[in-house]
Amino acid sequence: MRPVFRRFRTNRPALVSMAVLGTLVAFCVLAPILSSHDPYALDFTQQKHGPSSEHWLGTDFFGRDVLVRVALGGRASMLIAVAALAVAAVIGVLYGSIAGLVGGRIDNVMMRVLDGAFALPRFAILVSLVAVLGRHGSTYSTLVFGLAIVSWMTTGRLVRGEVVRLKQTEYVNAARSLGAKRLHLLRKHIGPSTFGIVTIAVFLELPGLVLTEALVSALGLGPSAATWGNIAWLGIQEGQLSHVVYVSMGLAIFAICANFIADGLQEALDPRAEQAIPEARRGLLA
């Protein structure tokens, strides 16, 4: 077994988090399949019921089963976040490796731009972006691209740092002295080695993205499908605070687990690094 996995296996908080997160994901995937309730079917005879044996978490304003909707919403929220992260990771990796590889003045300028982007109020910009990108009302892709545009920076910075470090390693130097071109270095030697840091960045950013999606939708700016944010929004509108609580619990569990996993990955991938991920870099924030 590869040492990374072996080290990760000994990290108890990370393992527990994996299990909890796995359960949460399984619930979100399986509940809509196993339940006999249609999450979108309106039933005005069943409006705003409390928890019962029929509807474990009660029903919402439209008589829909909340348990199924929370599961479905979780699935949608996580998918949006993961898709946004995939886009953001591509932007971040490209940006970071270009800056790190080219170096010099261009690197300097690119990093100052990144600092500037970091300092911007993400959420306010996202609210405008959602309005701009969602020409005819907001959809999944509106949120995915909006979120990606405001959250590629962590990946970008981490990748750049890693590329700069790798550039000075002996095996890269050896490859370069054999006449390897920059692009070849990036593809064959540096690129694959940044995989670990990208994984860490992804788990660091993930909770922030899920939370941000929920916050945008909770303002009533999200897509019309069930997401955690939308369920919370309807709960607030209709005074059904318990629904807001369910969603918040899902979000909180998700955020905490993802953070422990990021810590575990960091330790497993680079056990010599004394310093944990700096508190200021964590993606707990929306």
Binding site: F123, A124, S128, V132, R135, L211, A218, L219, I236, V244
Partner: protein, 297 residues
């Protein structure tokens, strides 16, 4: 600024056809007249130059849509900003005072009693505050404190509501600040100079406040940007829940209504304020830390 402008131009539709209402029912001659008044038919370069000129003179022009709320008068973006921005700034200012006053002691307590019950309690409280979404707090407080009692009237006129709103807004930053201070202090406490200071007989209090805290402030100041982000994000929900007439509310409204000048004006203003605060934090960090001071000069 060019980016915001490009985004707003790229925004689908016009005030005459929003995603919500494809046909506003405005008669064509009226629409043409309005288009001319707002110069919507000029080439974008001209529009952009006009816009830049106005931004530097802090005139964002008239709003395209009359305000939604009952009793409010149709206003220009500047009026709205002059009226609403101070409210949001006060809210955020009060909240950051709360965050510093409550968050720093929490972090210190956790760091000093590391791995004790106090630490676990304080740390999990801080993490909890940070991961629970703000809309849960605002919804609960609005339901039970604002509507449940008579002590907190809606709006921004009463001090009790102001304090409650600022406190609600400060919850996530409190958790953030506490976690930061704890992390920074735990690290500083292990430094040799701390042991030296203790060894030469200084009291714990003196060491903590004179040596440890001072050296833990730099990472704390570096976190000003995320803290500001938390405050801005929270302001949207706090203003909505407590009926506070602030700028965040207008930002959401203008986003929903495709009101370009308003959306642009408010976004640019928020960005400028946040950038200024971050700049100030960097400068203070430079003054506190001789290492940074050397880098600057």
């Amino acid at each position: 600024m060019l980016v915001t402008f490009a985004l707003m131009r790229g925004m689908g539709g016009t005030p005459f056809s929003t995603p919500l209402e494809p046909h506003s029912g405005v008669p064509l001659p009226v629409e043409l007249q309005l288009r001319e008044f707002y110069r919507l038919d000029e080439p974008w370069v001209v529009q952009y130059l006009n816009y830049v000129r106005h931004v530097f003179t802090l005139e964002f022009g008239p709003s395209l849509v009359p305000p939604a709320r009952f009793g409010a008068e149709r206003g220009s973006v500047d009026e709205v900003m002059r009226e609403k921005f101070p409210v949001t700034l006060q809210l955020a200012g009060l909240a950051s005072i709360f965050a510093v006053v409550l968050g720093i002691p929490l972090g210190i307590a956790a760091a000093l009693k590391r791995r004790s019950a106090v630490d676990y309690l304080a740390s999990s409280l801080a993490t909890g505050l940070l991961v629970v979404p703000i809309f849960l707090f605002t919804a609960v407080f609005a339901r039970y404190l604002v509507y449940g009692t008579h002590h907190f009237p809606l709006g921004w006129d009463d001090w009790s509501t102001r304090l409650l709103a600022a406190f609600t807004l400060s919850l996530a930053p409190i958790g953030y600040v506490a976690r930061l201070i704890r992390a920074a202090m735990v690290e500083t406490l292990q430094e040799d100079y701390v042991r030296a200071a203790r060894a030469k007989g200084l009291r714990v209090k003196r060491v903590v406040f004179g040596h440890v805290l001072r050296n833990s402030l730099t990472p704390f100041l570096a976190a000003a940007a995320p803290t500001m982000a938390l405050l801005v994000t929270g302001a949207f929900f706090v203003e909505q829940a407590f009926g506070i007439p602030g700028a965040a509310q207008d930002l959401v409204d203008s986003a929903e209504r495709r009101d370009y000048p308003m959306l642009m004006g408010l976004t640019v203003a928020v960005v400028i304020v946040v950038a200024l605060v971050n700049l100030a934090a960097d400068i203070v960090a430079a003054l506190l830390d001789p290492r940074v001071r050397e880098e600057v000069t």
